[in-house]
């Protein structure tokens, strides 16, 4: 099956098994290894990317259902040699990144969530992170950093 889609703004064509998980297309075909394949069953969130503006687990998205879709992975969140995405920078500044395996997924889930919910409560942030597991750091520190980022962003806007 041949599928055409855009990945990080570039047109891409995939030919192969329609049940190939998107994460494998990103990592093996496009060498976008920021997206991590960890549990492969939708529990850990390390493979989270945006598809048509929605944060989804790329391990569970068959490429055959993505004809015409727009995929954004962690690599598109900054230019590489430029500054990090503000949320990624805030998490790094708060020193909540440990091994880094979960963080691309965390950033993809939370950036999408904060775009749609600009003034969340702490409970809202925890609910949004429910599908992103981190085995290194305390979740509370991650939530602290997100709330600080939200507070700073609101302060800048007002």
């Amino acid at each position: 099956m041949t599928v055409t889609l855009t990945i990080n703004g570039s047109a891409c064509r995939f030919t192969g098994d329609p049940m190939t998980p998107l994460v494998d297309v990103l990592r093996r075909e496009r060498f976008l290894t920021g997206t991590k394949a960890v549990c492969r069953e939708g529990f850990c969130g390390a493979c989270t990317v945006e598809v048509d503006g929605m944060a989804v687990m790329s391990c569970l998205r068959p490429i055959g259902l993505l004809q015409g879709a727009a995929v954004t992975s962690i690599e598109a969140m900054s230019t590489g040699d430029g500054p990090l995405h503000p949320l990624a920078a805030a998490l790094e500044a708060a020193d909540v990144v440990q091994c880094g395996m979960c963080f691309p997924g965390m950033v993809m889930s939370l950036s999408s969530f904060l775009r749609d919910s600009p003034a969340p409560t702490r409970t809202d942030v925890k609910a949004a992170m429910a599908g992103n597991i981190c085995r290194c750091t305390g979740y509370e520190r991650i939530v602290d950093a997100v709330m600080e980022f939200v507070g700073h962003r609101q302060g800048v806007r007002s």
């Binding site: 099956m1 098994d17 069953e41 939708g42 569970l60 068959p62 055959g64 599908g131």
Partner: protein, 285 residues
Amino acid sequence: MTVDLEERSLMLPETVEGALAARLDGATILAGGTWLMRAPLRRESITRALVSLQAIPGLGDIAIGTDRVRIGASVTHEALARSLAGIAGLEAVATAASGAANPAIRRVATVGGNLCTRDFAAADLLPAFLATEAIVELRTRAGAEQLPIAVFLDDRARYLTDTLLVSVILPRNLVASTHMRLPLRKAGDYPVAILSVARDRDRRLRFAVGSVEPVARRWHALEEALAPDRGDMPLDPERTAALAASCNDFKGRDGPEADGWYRRQVLPALARRAAVALARQEGIR
């Protein structure tokens, strides 16, 4: 559109008739993919022919009327939760849709997939639909057919061989409902026991249990035990829990995330919580 591949094909028909024809030819229905994509982890193979309902117009729609709500098979959990939020009587379905799995799964997992995945015992929507006395709408070679969800679940394997589930209809005859789920850390995102409770306009109570047995079902023994109390509003939590313990006729299924006895054992506690939550719902009215 049909695209052939040497090893596997995925059809994306634009009509229900096209999808049904593919199904009758042996294709497996691919809904949101959250179950089928994990087949390799379960050491199961994925069939060579698949058919998706994604391109069929209307199956992703929710129509909210004064007497019923019609939900297309391709509606995602997230869309369902958003659409039903705040609708009196349908709290159980809204809660089931908003609490299942995790946010990213809810954005792609569909109502049809949840209802038609026979091996998934922990589906949140099933007990909620059972308590709501939902109707499933099937498309067969002969035309459309509507069935109570309990009838569909009783013989799901047979229905799914030659029919396509196209929508679910929720009658709007409930005054309040609630949905309780018990997650465990080692069970990940799956609840080890689920209890949905609804009260209709005649004050009749309906209880449905999921994840305890292989297929969700109504808890008729508890409904009958509570029948003399139907005029009592709110439901007494302690009495409900006591009756739930004495009417516990479930045979818990053993699984890697919980033993069968445990799933069965927690039901009275869930019944108590559900009675409290239902009373809260009724107090708001």
